[in-house]
Symmetry: C2
Subunit: 406 residues, 2 copies
């Protein structure tokens, strides 16, 4: 008995959202202060309440109602698209043709990139610690999701594994999409170094020289929380790339504007060829029209307003305070982990830190009995630093170390 098509559904509930439901139950039963919630990727203050930036929400509350009510253009407001490009690249804008098209959060951007740049059956490669929806997207769209070993033994990006995966995938295919979630990778907190990016481009160019089409799809959801500007240097490397090497960047307003629930983002295309970029814009606008019609209007207008010279100061200050809060928690995490001899993946930024272990499910089951909630996977335990205060981080590391040594 089935009415849906075969590949539809059947992926089971989303783990992060399912565990988050358990957190809410525990909080209701034991009180919020007695539950450590290191699950969901939203910034919370030290009392565990979600943070909503004043500069952003004040504008939503006072915006002309007609503007909020009206449809945005299908590809997004022109001012929004231009401002996203400026904000994203800052001083490291590649010397290339660049276009942006609005999407519902980073998800829409990644979905569009996979859909338009890999055909049915084509390979989509990714590091083997990854955000689950990448794989679900590929399953739903019939793309061939393959992973490579993310890290060498000393926790550097495993370039040999990357190259092997790329070359293997291209044996019987002419194109691939490579998803890289950096800087501030989810779930690990890792960022590729500039030298590692050079190597990725070198490996890509080798394939392109053999007539292959390579699309790098870079998920930068956490980029504003992964450095003080220097983490954007690598964008500059996407200047003057060959015709068959396309770069897509998935931009999200969720984190840096605390606008998760308003679903706004953009997909940015970078190419040295005008025609390739026109084709990009057309493909992204069509995907928009047939999947969600157009983006949410208000956040597009707010982003533009906050980027204005006279408003930027206030917003930048608020963002800086979020970054500082997150950095303090991360410093505590790294310090406590060292104190307890707990191995972690090098943390460079982002909302999450990661303890590699093959016993993650067993350990998190024990943690949950103590009302400590994290996300387990085959490779280890993800800890949402964005959601926990420093005291909780100290306790959490101690308890993980306790069970790891057991």
């Amino acid at each position: 008995m089935t009415m849906t098509i075969q590949k539809s559904g059947k992926t089971g509930p989303d783990l992060a959202f399912a565990i988050n439901a358990k957190v809410k139950q525990a909080q209701a039963k034991f009180g919020k202060a007695n539950v450590i919630n290191a699950v969901l990727g939203t910034l919370a203050d030290d009392e565990g309440n979600i943070i909503a930036l004043d500069s952003f929400y004040k504008r939503l509350e006072t915006m002309d109602r007609g503007l909020i009510a009206s449809y945005a253009p299908i590809e997004g407001e022109k001012t929004f698209r231009d401002t996203v490009i400026n904000l994203l690249f800052e001083d490291y804008r590649p010397d290339a043709y660049i276009e942006a098209v609005s999407t519902p959060g980073g998800t829409g951007a990644i979905r569009n990139g996979i859909f338009a740049y890999a055909d049915i059956g084509d390979p989509v490669i990714c590091h083997d610690y990854f955000w689950q929806p990448y794989q679900k997207m590929c399953r739903e769209f019939d793309r061939d999701f393959r992973t490579y070993n993310f890290f060498t033994k000393d926790f550097k990006f495993d370039l040999a594994s990357y190259k092997k995966c790329q070359d293997e995938a291209l044996k019987e295919h002419d194109r691939l999409v490579s998803i890289i979630n950096s800087p501030g990778n989810n779930p690990t907190g890792y960022s590729l170094s500039d030298e590692e990016w050079d190597k990725v481009l070198e490996i890509s160019k080798e394939a392109v020289a053999r007539g292959k089409k390579i699309t790098l799809l870079i998920d930068v959801a956490y980029i504003e929380f992964a450095g003080d500007g220097e983490q954007k240097k690598f964008f500059n490397k996407f200047s003057k790339l060959p015709e068959n090497l396309m770069v897509l960047v998935a931009f999200s307003m969720s984190k840096a504007y605390t606008a998760y629930g308003l679903r706004s983002g953009a997909v940015i295309g970078i190419s040295s060829y005008k025609q390739v970029i026109e084709e990009f814009k057309d493909a992204m606008a069509t995907s928009a029209r047939v999947n969600w019609s157009n983006g949410v209007h208000a956040p597009q207008l707010i982003l533009v307003d906050l980027a204005k010279e006279e408003n930027k100061g206030k917003y930048d200050k608020e963002l800086a305070s979020l970054k500082a809060m997150l950095k303090e928690r991360a410093d505590v995490f790294v310090g406590e982990a060292a104190k307890h001899n707990l191995e972690i993946i090098p943390y460079f930024g982002g909302f999450f830190a990661f303890v590699p272990t093959a016993r993650a499910f067993e350990i998190t089951e024990n943690l949950e009995k103590e009302n400590i909630f994290t996300i387990p996977s085959a490779k280890g335990i993800r800890i949402a630093l964005c959601a926990t205060n420093k005291a909780d981080v100290v306790k959490l590391v101690e308890r993980i170390a306790f069970y790891m040594n057991k």
Copy 2:
């Protein structure tokens, strides 16, 4: 030179949004009062300004910021899903298992229905006056979009043509999706009668009896503007349907809540089989996760609040005033058309009226020279009654009749 996959993009700009850009140019040049804008499907007051309901936007302005900022559950808030079902069906809830999953507007609901209930190459049938994105979706997802003759000569639903199209499509396929946009069809204003719905179900059941799987995907975007309750009677017919006859309803908050730019809606599944509905919910949640992650949170919460006994009165009154405004314009349109002997498709409700003609492009070109903007298609001229005042409707009908008789 192409980096995107073959079927991606290349559908050209969206006609309604492209003509709307021309309207804005004309308004800037000649003044708003000198331009008749009967293009886009958003309700405007008599001065041409978009209407934003006070009851809705007051709640957005005063909502807890943390709630707006936070992610909605992937399938939507439980209270939202339940309330949508109650509001949609009112007294005509089918005796069946029913579930709702949130989507970005009606577009997301239709996209999900096509994607999960027709496989690649499977037929998707539709009346031959239709909202263009249906066809664009099928092209992007590689579904086989086919149309049948919508109307008999006396403007009734052409059931013989419907049956022929269904049976032809099923010759080499085991399943199909049938999209029906009623009541208050866009672009024609037509609504299927209860007897026509009976016949559609009869025709569907004939195919199901032969082992075929039929999914009726009903786009009810304009249902609140197509009657005073009686237009929902047909929902009751979806009780106790056979296992292989699935009904999906695409619900949108855009029109009845003047929330176009906030992108909120839902897909509702109706089946007499529990397992079929569980499969529906799973498939819709997965499609949500891989395309847009989750819906916009705030409008879900506002819909629930407005449906509460203590708030319903104010909202219902506002909605009634919108309906009355639209009905007055429609009455003028129908009256003026009769006066000028202008043939129109019977208008039963919705935002649009339609003048059938093979000369639509020629006529609208002339109209545009007089700063009168409408949407032409191969079958005729669509007039957005939602956007024009009564005086403009009088003038517009006179000018269309003038060019028709030329």
